[in-house]
């Protein structure tokens, strides 16, 4: 069988994509405090995201991947993942920041052109989570760099991720 019967049925069936959640009010308040409105205007209404795993268990990565599926369809909001930090407006950092990843993360932040936003995705990036106190953990992220937005959760669900990321698209 070829893919076309399935594709054709998808074309005429109701869309799987669900309405995106509104921007999370808590995230809006954080951003207002962290980023000046000039920078927010410059970044505009379409953002390039770059994910950096700095010690995650890979749970957050699974849910970041789920943002691309037909139910969540991240790109309709003007958000897309890019391969290089040099092309990114937003760094999404997961994990408690291990000692072994600290330098690589630092280089990724340095490689991202200003103005940029750094988002702590998940409880580990927000505050080292269940890995607090481990000898191989150097985090949390906020001890190395300014964190503009925190999306909590272990891991955050795709809907929580969308609600957080939408804050970045709202005019300041």
């Amino acid at each position: 069988m070829s893919q076309w019967p399935i594709t054709l049925r998808r074309l005429f069936a109701p869309s799987l994509t669900e309405g995106a959640p509104p921007a999370d009010p808590a995230g809006m308040a954080q951003l207002a405090a962290a980023v000046d409105s000039a920078a927010r205007r410059r970044l505009g209404r379409s953002l390039a995201l770059r994910a950096v795993d700095a010690g995650s268990c890979n749970g957050c990565e699974l849910e970041l991947h789920a943002l691309a599926n037909a139910f969540h369809d991240l790109e309709r909001l003007g958000l897309k993942f890019v391969a290089s930090p040099r092309h990114a407006d937003v760094l999404l950092v997961t994990g408690p920041v291990t000692t072994n990843m600290r330098e690589a993360l630092h280089r990724a932040i340095e490689a991202t052109p200003d103005p940029k936003w750094v988002v702590a995705v998940g409880d580990c990036a927000a505050g080292t989570g269940v890995f607090a106190g481990a000898y191989g953990v150097a985090g949390p992220l906020s001890s190395f760099t300014q964190v503009d937005l925190v999306i909590p959760g272990c891991p955050p669900t795709p809907v929580q991720l969308l609600a957080g990321l939408r804050c970045l698209l709202e005019p300041g």
Binding site: S2, Q3, G55, N58, G59, L62, A66, T98, N100, Y135
Partner: protein, 507 residues
């Protein structure tokens, strides 16, 4: 010399508080003889790990099926190496030295593995850590294995990769486009989970076990819980066993669906990725509806499970299985008839069966190269002792074969969920963990293959030592063999077909 493993070890001292298999204490000369014997015997290495003064090794007799743990004391910081006869032990010996300072005499490879020269202390798990000297060589100074010849060039990749993926460094040596050698350098995610677990109540340590590798949250939590229960000499209630299996099969299906889609996506066939993504999302939503968490974190606890399901939730799972089955069948038909997929995936990234056997690699990596070992059947744990299902086996050892193993396992797991829901017993879902000392070993089949977890509980019932061994330990080295002779551009799809865990081995 025809002794089986248990007969061979029988003269050694038996540790009475180790369950369910036997642990034998050997002196160093006896351990040396055991290692010599392993050169001829078909005893596969299940794990090699350290305690304060001991090295433990779990083995399975592949002919007779017996599992045993052999232990040797560390004397003057040294023990006889296993790596000369079991290449799967190479990285494990390097980890033991990095974390404990125990040196393996005669080790094949003495380079550091997890220690990148950045931790405040060296040998962090040993009772006597030493401060890392300021001039310690860092990861940049790592001596990659050489490859020499005219026209060879190196391509360094990582630790941060293009994509939403875990960090690892890959050093390719290529001749034109063809890979001559690949060497992986991992350890970037090392947090110190084993150290964090020490001193915790099993219920708290289980939260860490869930986060060893998030995609295997159920499997690792199950392995930890079973090891802790064996150590405390208790059995969870039957209903807990069956609910655990429902979660384990749901996790397997969700991960395999994600992998099948991602492998096709890596050769630019986005249709399959989109369709498999829809099915995977339906699995995660059913998991959230029935177990309260999309990835089923913290649902399995030592002693049982954290929550029960009611008739409505059984209905959710039934509808999920009955919805996925026909949709998946159509996708497989598409996969099987797409010439562009066959062109890229057949004959790509081949691993020979002898190599899979030498490393005792399990899961889809093993079963795509004729190694049929499945922990659910090799040493059946409840409820799998009451169920039957086919174990898929392929011999080509290429990316395509690893996809087909996953396809057949999705089908088998869908049927298993139906069977589990049919036979779901009533009764309680958990028992209390007693404060009791003991040691336990558990073997559990995760979606990647066999997880081995060993737990020592102290007299207060707290975790004295825990060692979780992810299946990826014995699969990562084979990826280096699989890519040889392939083009660099095919590395992503080869890597995805292995889908080894970075977090699970970095710990």
């Amino acid at each position: 010399m025809a002794d089986d493993l248990l007969t061979y070890l029988a003269p050694a001292t038996i540790v009475t508080w180790h369950r369910p298999c036997t642990r034998f204490e050997l002196d160093q000369p006896a351990w040396r003889l055991l290692v010599e014997r392993m050169a001829e015997a078909d005893w596969s290495l299940l794990g090699l790990w350290a305690d304060v003064d001991w090295i433990h090794m779990a083995l399975r007799d592949e002919v007779e099926g017996g599992v045993a743990v052999a232990s040797v004391p560390v004397i003057d910081g040294r023990y006889p190496a296993v790596s000369p006869v079991r290449p799967g032990a190479i990285r494990l010996e390097r980890v033991i030295r990095d974390l404990w300072g125990h040196e393996a005499d005669g080790a094949v490879d003495t380079r550091p593995w997890l220690d990148h020269g950045r931790w405040p202390d060296r040998r962090p798990l040993s009772p006597h850590p030493v401060a890392t000297p300021p001039d310690a060589p860092t990861a940049e100074a790592y001596a990659f294995l050489p490859a020499t010849g005219d026209g060879l060039h190196q391509v360094p990749v990582g630790p941060i990769h293009a994509g939403i993926i875990e960090p690892g460094h890959f050093r390719f040596t290529a001749n034109g486009e063809t890979v001559v050698r690949l060497e992986a350098r991992l350890g970037w995610l090392h947090k110190g989970i084993e150290s964090l677990m020490q001193g915790l109540a099993p219920a708290d340590a289980a939260r860490l076990a869930c986060r060893i590798s998030g995609d295997s949250a159920v499997a690792h939590a199950l392995a930890f819980a079973r090891a802790a229960e064996a150590a405390a000499d208790i059995r969870p209630p039957p209903r807990a066993d069956w609910l655990r299996a429902v979660m384990a099969e749901l996790e397997r299906i969700a991960n395999h669906l994600g992998d099948i889609g991602a492998i096709c996506n890596d050769v630019a066939y986005a249709f399959m990725s989109a369709e498999c993504g829809v099915l995977r999302e339906r699995c995660l939503r059913a998991a959230a509806a029935c177990f309260g968490h999309r990835l089923m974190f913290d649902r399995i606890v030592p002693g049982g499970v954290a929550g029960d399901i009611d008739a409505d939730q059984v209905g959710v799972l039934r509808r999920l299985v009955h919805g996925i089955r026909p949709a998946f069948r159509k996708l497989i038909d598409v996969y099987d008839n797409q010439a562009s997929l066959a062109d890229r995936l057949v004959g790509t990234g081949t691993v020979r069966p002898e190599l899979v056997h030498r490393f005792a690699a399990g899961g889809f990596v093993g079963r795509a190269s004729l190694r049929a070992v499945d922990a659910r059947k090799a040493a059946p744990y409840p409820p799998y002792d009451k169920l039957d299902w086919p174990i898929p086996l392929f011999g080509e050892g290429d990316v395509n074969a690893r996809v087909w193993v996953r396809i057949r396992e999705v089908e088998a797991s869908l049927d298993l969920i139906d069977a589990l829901l049919d036979g779901l017993p009533g009764g309680p879902i958990a028992v209390a963990m007693p404060a009791r000392a003991g040691e336990g070993l558990a073997l559990v089949e995760g979606f990647r293959g066999e997880i081995m977890t060993w737990v020592r509980l102290d007299a207060a019932g707290r975790v004295g030592r825990c060692h979780p061994r992810d299946p990826s330990w014995f699969q990562w080295p084979l990826l280096e063999a699989a890519i040889e002779g392939n083009i660099i551009a095919d590395f992503p799809v080869c890597n995805k077909s292995f889908n080894c865990s970075y977090a699970g081995v970095d710990l």
